[in-house]
Amino acid sequence: MKTLSLSWRYLWARPLAALLNVLLLGLGLASITFLLLVAHQVERAFDRDLAGIDLVVGAKGSPMQLILSGVLHLDVPPGNVPLAAVNALQKHPLVAEVIPVSLGDNFQAYRIVGTSLAYPAHYGAALAQGRLWSAPMEAVLGATVARKLGLRLGDTFVGSHGLGAGGHAHGDSAYTVVGVLAANASVLDRLILTDTASVWKVHEDHASDDEDHKDHTAVEEQREVTLALVRYKSPLAAMSFPRWVNTSTEMQAAAPALEVTRLLHMLGLGTDVLRAFAGMLLLTAGLSVFIALWNAVRERRGDLALLRMLGAPPARIAALLLTEALWLGLMAALLGLALGQGFVLALGWLLGLGQSLLLGGALWPAELLWVPALALGVSLGAALLPALGAYRSDVLQLLQSR
């Protein structure tokens, strides 16, 4: 019989205590897993979706709202800005590229984004089927959208007003699916892309419905986009261009790097509280494991002394206790990882963040190695004193006890 199998049998000789300890330790580790996964996925999403975007320019309001709505597509935008003003940005000597983004409609809760072909190009998107749009009312679906909605090339659909499900449908303006993007793990996966002109057309049609006729030229002049993604020619532009936008135009400039740092700082406060809570859980679990193993040594004092009588060196007996703790730690680590992944999936589902790809999916970042390391650390730490007690089993006392 090996030490591993012997300690396993000893562990399950008290099944309730073993289960409770695995559960308690597992819950603490699940909290840690949850925190690590959320932090990893949020940072990854930010890194991925904000890459290469130096500035977001949109309507005045909250700069963070501008970033969340225009880049990460998590919030509603603060408003629209004139197309002419955005076109003017393109002419600025410090600007390399301006990508217009127009929001306002959705199809079954997936946002319809009116933009230019530079937008998919910016994220390095590749086509899985079909082609990119070449005319208004042609739509290209992100990989997740195509998969979830089951739309195929040539299918048509009608967008609804608003950025979430439930708005009224733009009945007369149907989109035709002309392409499906390959999944590239960016925000594009969950968007429906179309030409900026499509958004204008849908809303002008809608306006016509409501207000009968409107002067076409006036409409042209009033055209708006929601925001613009700006890429600088030089990093030095960051010194002056945002200030220029904020002071010289009616628009607002939001730097993703600054806003994300601010957001992560705010999230970090909550994360610290959760981390402290998880730490308390782990400490409690460690104490519980300690008490269980300490009691096990007390209950098995005679058995352990007999093992000494049979010739087992003290170190082998101590190793038996430590191995028992290792089993607890291993099982708790597996449970913690599984529960933690489950918690993240559940949170993503509850908050509707699954579609945003911010949370969800069975990801196994390297940071999760902390979980088994913590599990083994806590369980072995809790087992040290009991193992020492086992090491010092007094055989003479056993012989003298009747």
């Binding site: 019989m1 000893y10 007999l306 009588m309 082998r316 056993l398 012989l399 009747r402």
Partner: protein, 224 residues
């Protein structure tokens, strides 16, 4: 064989216990008597090499005890000493077979299932191999514990109060089982007891039974 001369043990309390000299040949039988607290357990622990003597010499199974390192002492005990405690300490979490396998684990040697089967067969409990200790009668449990004690074919078999709480018939059976088992191994048998029935039973089995009667542990002094 067990030979001791001027053997003494010093307790942490400061009391020192002196033991009479013994010379038990290999295969012989020693009846270790004396009231509770007279030092029987201490003498057994000395013979098993678990505690060091403070004075005197002690040779067991051809090995001079004392001066051996802890690891060597443990290995020597695993190979040479069989022990049947009064409280049998069969692990409740393990089957009978696994309880015997503990002896191999403790000795740090590969498990020999054939040896386990042979020991259980020899003690007439082979059919109980897969049972848990809670499913055994008192007599069956004692046979299993004895099988565990002799599994490594020890040269000295120590039994601590093997007849405690047994009726006369079962006590006689237990003594006979110990004697025949020790004889089959050629092992020296030491029975620590204050049960007079053990001596009576042994008289009917062997004419070469030695007795070592211990007195009470003195407080703060050396026993005569």
């Amino acid at each position: 064989m067990i030979q001791s001369t001027g053997l003494q043990f010093a307790y942490q309390t400061g009391a020192t216990l002196a033991f009479p000299d013994v010379n038990v040949p290999q295969g012989g039988v020693l009846l270790l008597g004396g009231p509770s607290g007279s030092g029987k357990s201490t003498w057994l622990a000395l013979v098993a090499g678990l505690i060091p003597a403070s004075a005197g010499s002690l040779q067991v199974a051809g090995q001079m005890l004392g001066g051996m390192g802890a690891l060597k002492s443990d290995a020597w005990r695993a190979a040479n000493i069989g022990f049947l405690p009064q409280k049998l300490h069969l692990s409740a979490a393990l089957t009978v077979q696994q309880n015997l396998a503990l002896a191999f684990w403790a000795a740090g040697v590969a498990q020999d299932n054939a040896a386990i089967d042979a020991a259980l067969n020899a003690l007439g409990v082979a059919d109980l191999a897969q049972r848990l200790p809670a499913q055994l009668s008192g007599g069956q449990a004692q046979r299993v514990a004895l099988a565990r004690a002799v599994l490594m074919r020890p040269r000295v078999l120590l039994a601590d109060e093997p007849t405690a709480s047994l009726d006369d018939h079962n006590a006689a059976d237990a003594v006979q089982l110990l004697w025949t088992t020790a004889q089959s191994l050629g092992a020296t048998l030491v029975i620590a007891t204050h049960d007079a029935r053990v001596g009576q039973s042994l008289q009917g089995l062997s004419s070469a039974v030695q007795r070592l009667d211990l007195g009470r542990i003195p407080t703060g002094g050396v026993a005569p």
